[in-house]
């Protein structure tokens, strides 16, 4: 599951290489969403910033 953003970004670069701009932007957006969802899932530790 953690490799999903890399897969989507690789697909985005591949689509851009084939000059399918819209498809590549779609893959990039999905990759960004996957990245942020995974970030949220790992947002478990509480920050210790009180002095």
């Amino acid at each position: 599951m953690m490799s999903l953003p890399f897969v989507l970004f690789a697909c985005a670069i591949g689509a851009a290489w084939m000059r399918h701009r819209g498809v590549s932007m779609g893959f990039w957006a999905l990759g960004l969403v996957a990245m942020l969802v995974l970030f949220r899932l790992h947002f478990t530790e509480v920050l210790m910033i009180q002095l």
Partner: protein, 183 residues
């Protein structure tokens, strides 16, 4: 600035991003400094940002491509800032080796900030976006090698992450490659 000069500068930028990713890989393989989940997501952030730069190389410079790079860098920067804040108080530990006194997540934040600043500076010149100047269709050596290196690193990160975390989420502090451990 001509479109070709813009493409050259974008190629240098993409090579710089690829160098950061390659150094992270070298640290992982050479020093066995296995990446934590947030570290992996920061790598993904570099791909999100680098994709905008890659679009400038493949399809020609456009403001929207710089926007993509900036959005990717902000997302990656947020993740690295989160990791910096986790360890900001003395005595709360750290993750991984340090390089020149700073940990990799701190360097990552600096690099993401540099990408945002670099894109903002590039956006100042409108002449690169004009259609009056014809742009060479075939990619030259430097942009082509930058793109190939970036693509190779993306594929290498897919395999590395699958080997490290398997099909699920990564452990907070991985000690070994999960996939290789089961063999």
């Amino acid at each position: 600035m001509s479109a070709d000069l813009s493409r050259l500068l974008n190629a240098v930028g993409l090579l710089a991003i690829s160098t950061v990713l390659a150094l992270a890989f070298a640290d992982q393989l050479w020093f066995r400094d296995l990446p934590c989940p947030l570290c992996i997501l920061q790598r993904a952030g570099f791909f999100a940002a680098g994709f905008g730069v890659a679009l400038n190389l493949i399809l020609g410079p456009k403001p929207s491509h710089y926007g993509i790079a900036i959005i990717g860098a902000i997302a990656g920067g947020a993740i690295s800032m989160r990791q910096i804040l986790l360890h900001i108080i003395p005595g709360t530990g750290h993750y991984g080796n340090d390089v020149f006194g700073l940990h990799l997540y701190t360097w990552a934040f600096i690099a993401f900030a540099a990408i945002v600043v670099g894109c903002a500076i590039m956006l100042l010149d409108d002449r690169q976006f004009s259609r009056a100047e014809p742009m060479s269709v075939r990619l030259k050596a430097l942009p082509l090698s930058a793109l190939l290196l970036f693509m190779t690193l993306a594929i290498a990160n897919i395999f590395s992450t699958v080997a490290l975390c398997g099909a699920g989420l990564c452990p907070d502090a991985p000690k070994d490659y999960m996939l290789l451990d089961g063999m």
